[in-house]
Symmetry: C2
Subunit: 254 residues, 2 copies
């Protein structure tokens, strides 16, 4: 199975063990390196993930890590897949497609909540790691009972996961505003808001100005965030339902 040649990158992503057992035994493995990097990112954000810091948290030197990851960029890819984590068991089983797709999206959103820095990673093409593939697979499976063809299913998955990601990015952006240690930050924030209000002139930006004036952007608490997320999600699901040509009511189990 792994006798064939395989790009080293992929072998690391899929944790294919090396077949040779000669030479000095390794003290680490890809998994531990990646776990350390993920932990670092969870604690201090993606910017804190540097080879020196990861090495320090593992008690080695920077250069030793290159035995396990190839490059910083590859480390990010590995982190991405690792942070995705396995597909939760709650997604298995059957049910109407709409419910399954909704659950899939919510679990996906939960992943972003656990690892907010995931939203900062620039996407590197289609999923290629075991966890990424597993999520993809589960998403496809949620649509098994629908008449959609492959292209459509892939399209729906791209759409939904793109939505979840941008929602996470937005939430992250809003949360960033809440940081800083208070007074100074708050004052700057207020000044910023006031300046914006002055800049968005009703003559030039009628609708945006009306929106600002309406105060609909004011309370951006966590509660509101969830509601907004639901709004977009259900809207997308409505779109899927329209494509299917039937309402997402009870159906024969997949």
């Amino acid at each position: 199975m792994d006798g064939d040649r395989m790009p080293a990158e992929l072998a690391r992503l899929w944790r294919i063990p090396a077949d040779s057992r000669r030479g000095r035994p390794a003290r680490l493995d890809v998994g531990r390196v990646v776990d350390a990097a993920v932990a670092l990112a969870d604690r201090q954000g993606l910017a804190a993930v540097t080879l020196p810091k990861v090495a320090e948290s593992l008690g080695t030197t920077k250069m030793a890590l290159y035995r396990y990851v190839g490059s910083k960029d590859e480390l990010l890819t590995l982190m991405h897949d690792a942070a995705n984590g396995p597909v939760p068991a709650s997604l298995e089983g059957t049910g109407p497609w709409r419910e399954r797709l909704r659950r899939w999206s919510e679990e996906q959103a939960a992943v972003f909540e656990r690892h907010p820095w995931l939203a900062d990673l620039r996407p590197s093409g289609p999923p290629s790691g075991p966890n990424g593939i597993a999520w993809f697979d589960a998403g496809l499976r949620a649509m098994r009972s629908t008449p959609l063809d492959w292209q459509a299913r892939v399209g729906v998955i791209m759409l939904v996961s793109g939505y979840v990601k941008s929602a996470a990015q937005l939430a992250r952006g809003l949360a960033a505003g809440r940081e800083g240690t208070g007074m100074d930050q708050a004052a700057a924030e207020r000044e910023y808001g006031m300046a914006m209000a002055r800049l968005v002139e009703p003559e030039r930006f009628p609708d945006a100005a009306a929106l600002f004036a309406s105060g609909a952007l004011e309370d951006t608490g966590k509660q509101t965030g969830e509601e907004d997320f639901r709004f977009g999600l259900e809207l997308v699901l409505d779109g899927v339902a329209a494509r299917i040509g039937a309402e997402g009511g009870p159906e024969p189990a997949s």
Copy 2:
């Protein structure tokens, strides 16, 4: 109007001219710096945008740029807004919401095509530059004739622009595969694909494996890309229509 205090960052974003005319006159201005940076990114990607390189392309020194941009990060924000460009005239005028929203999305996608690196920028909160606000305003205006409330309109805009962005990211990822100078690259690509096909085992990933086997992912030409984009876009518009509770047929002009 600009007599009030205003954060320097915002003043630069909105190109508010300084009121003082004393001292040595500047040879550059924010606009030229940003344009140079955008040109660089267009030619060589976002990674090529470094202060030294931008400075060189303008015939100055790195440190001179700090008179105009404050920080690298701010430069990216300025580039973002500048690259958005003004809202095209074709979006003004009236028409049914669905058509207007569709046009808005397509024009937005065209922006990403002109400046692919835009998809690599991590979003820094809601739009705050003149162009960003103008696009936002235009998006809102497209929904004027609908009964949606402000929250819903904002939600739709977030959803749609998130979709456009992730579609651009995907296209970018696929295009990246086409790069390299040929043979070597192609061989690596093929090997990668074959390895992936082996790794996605039908027992473990039944739906994903079936998808791979179906060959639905094969031809990823530009043509297909457009079609995929339309699919998601129309799906979202269907969702909006469902929210409105009416089909997007002809309506009283906004």
